[in-house]
Symmetry: C2
Subunit: 140 residues, 2 copies
């Protein structure tokens, strides 16, 4: 969807910079006040999970360096790993071209997935034989 | 959000498989009939973009092997690269633990981003000096 602020800076040159607080204010949160977050392992580059942040979760993540999402089921801030110990330390955060997705590279402790698997994307499609196959196992 | 089908298979063992067509039917499309798709370069493992598919786009992607999304701005199927030539050949597709996100690994031709940059996540936050910095340039 069109975002005038991010459109206005899209032809900027390599190395050019803009105020972070302004960019955060201009992010496209959806009608539930949420923005999509992709979390990627900094070292392996595996995509670990996708989740959502509201503005408060985003600011808390930047402030603490610990990935904090918005739990749509519990309707509350969700400090990843607070219960399980499987925390995610933020290494890099980037915004996308139209300001509606955040990419976070993290140091993951233990399993990223609630099933105990290293990441959430363990169901791989096999179109040729009409199957999905479980491609990883629990690491604990 | 809870998805009973994906919950029912989450303790399956490594290598166990399930019917793909059933899994597709059980995916959690949102109230606009869309599901989030993360697209990752198969070789570099860079996250290229995030976009959305409806059921039709998903089936077309699986059928043709060419990434096809739903354009929320044009309200139409969007065969990636159809105009620009910057196509994405599907290599692997996976579903996540709760059936509401799809991860696609692709062979990307040219720029994934509409700005001509290799991927959409070129605005990197620098919290220490309150900036976002452009970290890639156009490849064409």
């Amino acid at each position: 969807m069109k975002n005038n602020y991010f459109k206005s800076i899209e032809s900027a040159s390599l190395g050019e910079s803009f105020p972070l607080d302004k960019a955060i204010n201009e992010l496209s949160f959806n009608d539930q006040g949420l923005i999509a977050v992709i979390t990627q392992d900094f070292t392996s580059k595996d995509v670990l999970m996708m989740a959502w942040m509201n503005l408060s979760a985003l600011l808390k993540t930047l402030d603490t360096g610990q990935m904090t999402y918005w739990s749509r089921s519990r309707y509350a801030l969700w400090i990843k790993g607070e219960t399980s110990g499987h925390t995610q330390e933020l290494v890099e955060m980037s915004f996308d071209c139209d300001g509606d997705t955040i990419l976070c590279k993290v140091n993951q402790k233990g399993a990223a997935c609630h099933t105990g698997r290293p990441n959430c994307f363990y169901l791989k499609t096999q179109v040729q034989n009409n199957q999905i196959v479980v491609v990883s196992k629990q690491i604990e």
